[in-house]
């Protein structure tokens, strides 16, 4: 029972790191980025190549995965995404679906279609018992890393000048622009960091959720659930939503395997009907 809770929390934390970038880009630019999972996949594959082929230590590979995905995000944002912000949601959806298709096929071409794994250092494998609760070492690591990241993000958002600029831009981009905040560059940085975090999440998640070229398609819906249920106006909303989703998904698959993923999809639809702005957002319509 507690093991399931533990696994669920680890999964939820992972989802949060994967999806928080999406929440910010959606809230800031009202931009629907269905290709967010592609950046996570980039980070995951970067780790796999670094660790398995080049023999880079696992912990050195994690920040590199972040950098690779962030760089990729920055380049794509400046070169392609900027042209699509002002277009309709339909255009944005079509554009990012196109990117997803391209990334899936390209990775399939380069890396092959089979699932890949990262070679973990031995001391991260297996689990140990604390008061009768089985604690997976790797999952503990995920909780630690993601927990530190979450606190750091929260601090950056609430305490730094950049954070207050970002919050101002999310609340009202026009007024923020009028006050002399360069919303575009704030957004470019946020996009890059969000992609980088997704890449880090992809690197960490390879062991738990598996990695193959269809990753962006498989996890798109999870990201969307986190964002829709959590709302886009703060970072705590998506965080709570990810935890709920993680625990719900793990527990659901354990206790009622016949229903499977059915439960979370239904919950998502129900939430969207009752509160289109998300469960944890402030009431107003954007």
């Amino acid at each position: 029972m507690l093991t399931i809770l533990f696994d669920g929390i680890a999964y939820g934390m992972l989802l949060f790191v994967l999806a928080c970038g999406l929440a910010v880009t959606l809230g800031l630019m009202n931009f629907v980025n269905l290709a967010h999972g592609a950046f996570a996949m980039a980070g995951g594959y970067a780790t796999v190549i670094l660790v398995n082929n080049w023999g880079v230590p696992f912990f050195a590979a994690l920040p590199l995965a972040f950098l690779v995905a962030a760089l990729l995000g920055l380049v794509l944002e400046r070169s392609l995404y900027v042209h699509v912000y002002r277009k309709s949601h339909l255009d944005q959806v079509l554009f990012t679906i196109g990117l997803v298709f391209m990334s899936v096929a390209a990775v399939d071409y380069v890396m092959g279609s089979s699932q890949v794994f990262v070679r973990l250092p031995p001391w991260l494998q297996g689990q140990f018992n604390v008061l009768g609760v089985g604690v997976g070492r790797y999952r503990l690591l995920i909780i630690l890393v993601c927990g530190v990241l979450t606190v750091a993000l929260q601090l950056v958002l609430s305490r730094t000048r950049f954070g207050s600029r970002l919050r101002a831009a999310v609340d009202d981009a026009r007024v923020a622009r009028g006050l002399g905040i360069r919303v575009d560059s704030v957004f470019a940085i946020t996009f890059a960091v969000g992609s980088g975090l997704a890449g880090l999440g992809g690197a960490l998640g390879t062991e738990i959720v598996g990695l193959d070229p269809t990753f962006p398609l498989k996890f798109m819906i999870y990201f969307l659930i986190v964002v829709t249920v959590g709302g886009t106006s703060s970072i705590t909303g998506p965080f709570l939503a990810s935890l709920l989703l993680g625990i719900g998904d793990v527990a659901g698959k354990y206790y009622v395997p016949t229903l499977g993923a059915f439960v979370i999809y239904t919950i998502m639809i129900a939430v969207l009907i009752v509160r289109p702005q998300g469960l944890f957002s402030r009431g107003g319509v954007r």
Partner: protein, 346 residues
């Protein structure tokens, strides 16, 4: 003021649009000719006709009512499975009757889920429709005793059409059957699109608030067109099952919904032929690309999507403009009507 309110004059523009254009006649004659001229291409032409019907269905809600859907495969798949189950368990062994039943089942599903797309922005609609398709896929996956789960619905045998025409392995019957269904349903869609009901949908698409202000019952209209579109999609799915004697989870897949959007974007929305032309181009492109690179053709599909959006969807659909001009020149009546309206305005 005892006179009954007169029916407003639809005006020459609408009348000319509702009238059959020579090019339209030509289009359908060409489709019919393909049946006789290209006997070795029955299979792919059948696929094109099914995709065209499916795209027509999305055009009804996207092009006319402005509802963005990323889960239209839900109704396609539902129709496909209903038709498969009806045939497998001999509940309605005559294909045409089964087709109608499958369409009606999808209509019911469309009616029930239409309430979900009434509220919210484009984004909410995208996610709700996507969610509905995922839920249905999950149901089909889980209830394997009924649907065959991941292995697909096997053991479907389709009875001869109307008790007369067998579905042969060359796809001759299947082609004629799908083409006929497509034509009949297209006539219906054309009638709907040019009716006052269709015009009111375009008003809703243009500006929902103003449409409400001029007295259009927005929600009722949206519910009806969404249900009708679901019927079309269900029929398309049923056609797929009947012509291939198989249904798999693939009918609900996200790629199917996404491809469908691409089909409609290639052909252009809001004039009914967009779906048909888009289906033709898309299938030929897919056929060519998958022969070139069997595994990686989604890459090129994705590239096409990205390029279309970057170039600009409206600018992209201008490639049909010379066609429209040609159409005007061929149809002297439409030209006269347009000139008449222009001179009225001056």
């Amino acid at each position: 003021m005892s006179l009954p309110p007169a029916r407003p004059d639809p005006g020459p523009a609408r009348a000319s649009r509702a009238r059959w254009h020579p090019l339209e006649v030509l289009f359908w004659l060409a489709a019919l000719a393909c049946y006789f001229v290209l006997p070795s291409k029955h299979l792919i032409l059948t696929e094109i006709a099914i995709l065209a019907l499916f795209a027509l269905s999305l055009d009804l809600i996207l092009g006319y009512a402005g509802i963005v859907s990323l889960g239209h495969a839900a109704f396609f798949g539902f129709g496909a499975y209903v038709a498969g189950l009806l045939a497998k368990h001999q509940l309605a062994s005559e294909p045409l009757a089964a087709l109608l039943l499958a369409g009606l089942a999808a209509l019911l599903l469309g009616f029930l889920t239409s309430f979900l797309v009434l509220r919210g922005s484009d984004l909410t609609r995208i996610m709700v429709t996507l969610g509905v398709a995922l839920v249905l896929r999950e149901i089909a996956n889980r209830y394997a005793w009924l649907t065959g789960g991941a292995d697909g619905l096997q053991g479907v045998s389709i009875e001869p059409l109307l008790g007369l025409f067998r579905f042969d392995m060359f796809g001759r019957t299947a082609h004629a059957y799908t083409l006929a269904v497509l034509f009949v349903l297209f006539l219906l869609a054309r009638r709907i699109a040019h009716s006052p009901f269709g015009l009111s949908l375009q008003a809703i698409k243009g500006n929902q608030l103003r449409a409400t202000a001029v007295g259009i019952a927005v929600n009722a209209r949206l519910i009806s067109i969404y249900s009708i579109a679901a019927f079309y999609a269900g029929v398309a799915g049923a056609l797929l099952t009947q012509t291939t004697a198989f249904a798999s989870l693939d009918v609900f897949s996200f790629e199917r919904s996404a491809d469908l959007l691409l089909v409609l974007i290639i052909g252009g929305t809001g004039y009914l032929y967009g779906g048909l032309i888009g289906a033709l181009i898309f299938k030929l492109m897919q056929d060519y690309l998958s022969a070139l690179t069997p595994q990686y053709w989604p890459f090129w599909i994705g590239l096409v999507l990205v390029v279309i959006v970057l170039v600009g969807r409206d600018r992209f659909s201008h490639w049909t403009r010379p066609l429209h001009r040609l159409a005007d020149r061929l149809d002297w009546r439409a030209g006269q009507a347009r000139r008449a309206t222009v001179s009225e305005r001056h």
